[in-house]
């Protein structure tokens, strides 16, 4: 039970950590000042949520590890984030598409997690959902602007969506830990959310003058710790200080 809960918290929080890290790479490099500030702000929100989750995970495990040990000291195979959030900042169309695909999921997910029987998780969800509804507004507004902007922006957006779409399904995959906790009323049964996600995404995409790609083969592996080749580099940055200077206070 304890182990399941720990794994489940990681599944949720690692997505936020890795996406926050990706967005953190952008700081100072955005297309204008407003988007630059917005992306930094989203990263900040996600990492704030990560702290709450890992603090809770540390409390659950009671093995002397801290939030930072959990964030920085795991091996690549132990990270449980989906492949979607690892995808690189290829251009602003990719950044926005990745964000939109995640935000929509994140919003629907937190809405349910608020009703978890685990009071810590439901409290974090209630606090985070306000932030995430803002993220979704930001990313979906930009989907519209870029999808229904110029010819070039439309082409770039469609290309990004086509590339990223095979990664959406993994968000809904349910791990063994998840299965066990759904029975307890703790975890969210994401199976039920997938239809809402697809309906909602279709509407957003239509409004943004974009076509939802038809995909036969979906990409997955992150949730069971088998990541893309990007992940090693993300962790090399993330863990650099903790690996180079172990056991110090910062």
């Amino acid at each position: 039970m304890k182990e399941n809960l720990y794994q489940y918290i990681l599944e949720i929080a690692d997505n936020c950590l890795i996406l926050g890290q990706r967005l953190g790479e952008l700081c100072g490099h955005g297309p204008n000042l407003e988007t630059d500030i917005a992306c930094t702000n989203i990263s900040l929100d996600l990492l704030g949520q990560v702290r709450s989750y890992y603090q809770y995970a540390a409390q659950v495990m009671e093995d002397g590890r801290t939030e930072d040990d959990i964030a920085f000291m795991r091996m690549e195979r132990e990270y449980r984030n989906t492949l979607l959030v690892e995808q690189p900042n290829t251009d602003f169309a990719f950044i926005i598409s990745r964000q939109f695909m995640f935000d929509l999921y994140h919003y629907l997910f937190l809405k349910e997690l608020q009703h978890s029987r685990d009071l810590s998780l439901s409290a974090i969800a209630s606090k985070s959902i306000k932030e995430v509804s803002y993220h979704l507004r930001f990313s979906s507004d930009w989907m519209k602007r870029l999808g229904d902007g110029t010819e070039e922006s439309q082409r770039r957006m469609q290309a990004a969506i086509n590339t990223l779409w095979p990664y959406f399904e993994e968000l809904f995959e349910i791990s063994d830990a998840g299965k066990a906790l759904i029975k307890e009323g703790i975890a969210v049964d994401t199976k039920g959310l997938k239809k809402d996600y697809l309906n909602s995404a279709r509407e957003y995409l239509q409004e943004a003058n974009l076509i939802m790609p038809e995909v036969e083969h979906f990409m997955k592996g992150g949730k069971s710790g088998v990541h893309s080749e990007h992940m090693g580099y993300i962790l090399a940055d993330l863990q650099y200080m903790q690996r180079a200077y172990p056991n110090m206070n910062w």
């Binding site: 890290q21 953190g24 790479e25 700081c27 100072g28 490099h29 955005g30 297309p31 204008n32 000042l33 407003e34 988007t35 630059d36 500030i37 930094t40 702000n41 990263s43 900040l44 990492l47 704030g48 990560v50 702290r51 890992y54 939030e67 930072d68 964030a71 920085f72 251009d91 602003f92 519209k144 602007r145 870029l146 229904d148 902007g149 110029t150 070039e152 922006s153 770039r156 940055d237 993330l238 650099y240 200080m241 903790q242 200077y245 110090m248 206070n249 910062w250």
Partner: protein
Amino acid sequence: MSEEKIKDLENQFEERIARDDKIEPKDWMPEKYRKTHIRQISQHAHSEIVGMLPEGNWITRAPSLRRKVALLAKVQDEGGHGLYLYSAAETLGISRDEMIEQLHSGKAKYSSIFNYPSVTWADIGAIGWLVDGAAIINQVALCGTSFGPYARAMVRICKEESFHQRQGYEIMLTLANGTPEQKAMAQDALNRWWWPSLMMFGPRDEDSPNTALSMKWKLKRKTNDELRQQFIDQTVPQAELIDLKVPDPDLKWNEERGHYDFGPIDWDEFWQVVKGHGPCNRERMEARRSAWENGAWVREAAMAHADKKAKKSLNKAS
């Protein structure tokens, strides 16, 4: 306008400045006043924006979650400062795009301090402590400046800067109390950032031709040398408190003056960096230009989309 009329307006203007009236964007002002303010406010805005780069360099590598979150928040604040300042400059009749154009062409300057590299985590502490610390001293002096929008932006910004300064000092304090490696990292950062921070106050008074006019318009209320001295007097005890050594063998308290005496500043280095030959001038400008160029299609799309929307609602209305 007749020459007489202009002379009259100029006199009234000078009187208002002398009375400590705030000058507002719609008020009459001498052309030179307008130009000087555009130059200074835009330079200040550019510094905030370029300043995001050396600190942004450590966001993905910050050593703890708490530090990562704090650094993100700080860099985000700096972006916000850039926004207020660009808006303040826009009230003088220049667009943000024009100002950015001037930055990219090299016509407009930004603070040279950001042309130094942030090579270790301790640099993030040193930047907050020293660079934000020096910025506050410059900016507190500007809260009483004559141009209203600039003065108001400064009041708002100063509050955040002092938070940044405390946060930076706290990073240094933690390192100084840490392992020998951490302490060495902190000392090394102080060694590298000390002199460039002193240069942030600009050339010595006798080499600063704009000072007289800036003092007259209350764009400056203290001279470069006065502000520099204030910074040194304030910062040296802070270094002592955490047992770090300021890298100046000539530094000594002067009882008679009531100030610290300090060693000679390498003005050759200062001018070299100002003229574009600092360690990171090229990288900073490349980063800014490529962000701008890579973002062109995004800005165009946003405009095109806004046009389409406006047309749609116009059609609906008619």
